[in-house]
Symmetry: D2
Subunit: 220 residues, 4 copies
């Protein structure tokens, strides 16, 4: 919650703003129709729901704290429902932003020295990493994430089956790949392999490298 202290003021409004796609180029193999559907409808829908849920929670939280509303119940309660919807919407927003951030490139390993070095050191070669990461992505229902795991200061791949399933606490994403059906069914039907190839063709290694440098500098 925010500023609950100032009781006499109205609760602050949550106005998280949807980010535009961080690239202008047409993607190679992923249709504009699919991408627009993905960004303008799905991602922007999650942003709207995130704001709706968090505004709702501001009010409910105040009412609970002041004894005017019922608190939590783990089978069904308004608080439970909102908190559950919140992790779905929040991760839905964040993960899509990280995903779009590494798209729009040309797949060339330029300006990504630090990440390339780290991947080569762990996986033997970038090609070996791409192969393994892609197989992990073939095994997930939702997302595959290469993250800087601050708990162990390691670069690690984790798999998610939904926006709010599989998230690892303390892990900062570097490469986020969406394997929800909405990401590929329109262009490729059930053939996820073709989508994975298209992902790497459009991959922006330089953007991923920036995420890696910032994340991996953190020592908690």
């Amino acid at each position: 919650m925010r500023n609950l202290k100032r009781k006499h003021e109205a609760p602050p409004k949550h106005v998280y703003r949807a980010k535009p796609l961080p690239f202008r180029t047409l993607l190679n193999g992923i249709s504009d129709r699919s991408l627009k559907n993905h960004h303008d409808k799905l991602y922007m829908g999650y942003v709207a729901k995130k704001n709706e849920i968090e505004n709702h929670l501001e009010e409910l939280g105040r009412a609970i704290v002041s004894g005017k509303a019922d608190g939590g119940n783990p089978t069904y309660s308004e608080l439970r429902s909102l908190k559950e919807g919140e992790t779905y919407a929040v991760n839905g927003v964040y993960l899509h932003e990280w995903y779009f951030e590494v798209l729009g490139g040309d797949g060339k390993f330029e300006n990504a020295g630090e990440l390339i070095d780290a991947l080569t050191s762990s996986y033997g070669s970038v090609e070996a990493f791409i192969k393994y990461f892609s197989e992990c992505a073939s095994a997930a229902h939702g997302w595959t994430v290469l993250a800087w795991d601050t708990k162990e200061s390691r670069l690690w791949i984790y798999n998610c089956d939904a926006h709010n399933q599989g998230g690892v606490w303390g892990a900062l994403p570097v490469i986020v790949l969406d394997v929800y059906e909405h990401a590929y069914v329109m262009d490729f039907g059930a053939d996820r392999t073709l989508y994975l190839k298209a992902f790497w063709k459009n991959f922006n290694w330089s953007a991923a490298n920036d995420l890696f440098k910032r994340a991996s500098s953190i020592r908690l």
Copy 2:
């Protein structure tokens, strides 16, 4: 994976070591039998499984990269199973460590100035925060986490229904509360409210403040 490059060496062993409880005092209201069960059997069991899974993945990953093993399938495959078990075990280890880290205190708000200030600013008072956080914890099946959410540079409460459900990418835990039944049923039966009271009585605000200071200094 680690050091896959050096093909002729055996894969490195994952030997994550279980941490001992970070306090020696008996807890107030939470029995030693329950705590020992929690730390020595459950937590240490997750550590053992994390090592087992990651060692298994080192081998499978190498075999996949070199074309000697099948890759991923999202309905059932060895890779899928291990990656799913991994987020369960890894979060099971990490969350328990953060949980034990803020136990063993006396519930007094000393040496926790920065966190107290931040909570007061957001929730009006620490008491209001405790009330709201506890109600969130009454609405979850697994964990309630106050985290520094690096995506928005905000201190936020998130709810989880299992070790690997509800985790938020990019979020660094500050206060982690276990509400799995194993945390309280032995001492309190189904009465989670009594457990929540005991949690705050044994809360180590100074330890939580240290986590907060480190996490909130991060700007990505």
Copy 3:
């Protein structure tokens, strides 16, 4: 919904009644404190929540049909939350009833000829079945269910990780075993093996046989 047709009447009340434990004897190895907690607090709590949710849905459903309330959204909506809580509560009620129904016995294979024959035919012996079913139960987070699967007319074991996870459509339970932590942590800590032994010691084969005879007679 029920009787929505009669618009001018108030929606009917859902008054599902909690069933008492179907046995009076003390269990062997499972404490009365644990059992009372299980039945009187948890199970009866699910019954209360089931009624609350379904009464709430009666009203919301009418409002949606008549255009006075918003409909469904898959990220967060009141309808989504209630429908999700419903499968949790409904299965929480049903599964506990089937579980209690096969407790309170002495573990002797009497008056259970049909089921014993079927298990022997599939698993080689009842002991082999008990061994395999128990290992399945050691691998689940919620329930293990031997069911008559009407889609294939087969007797089959399925595993569940939560009340509303793992349920198989068209399957009629015969032997339901609760492996949620609330079922055993109070008496056995993390030692689920001891609980499984206690389960079979208190198993009512005759009651399971009745369930089997009725279920397996069904041909769809």
Copy 4:
């Protein structure tokens, strides 16, 4: 398992056969490309995985019973993985078969007297039922199911977020609607409302009525 008794024989092979689509007509608004992808790749893929998993379980089960393989562990074990994949694959097969069974019609309420009467009695009119069922389907991630719930002898709508989430024990499907993204994204992008309209246009009320008559005759 099947026929474990005959130890010296090889385990029986699971050879569940994929059913062809039960209609020949082109659907109205749902493209053939989408339908072929849905039936020939996804559904048939689940059938193949179901057989693979169950054959694997036959072997593992025998090895466990004879002490030659490790049993179950709830964080990660081969048995856990297979049993979890099994409910995903089995429900993936069954639910798709029930879904295809009520497609290929013309949406006219003919030869469906019993079901129409039951729906009218519960929901006031078939139109009110369609409206409410469709809103439930707008609130789910996986499936919406009208089922005959044998535990309470009632016709009820339940929502699922995945093949193996939300299933209700003892419930026999009558109307099964797939709202996974694979069912509609190719034809309608994120616009699920258009898909729901198409579903009802192609609905086979007579087939649903047959399912209803058989299911609702059952009294356990």
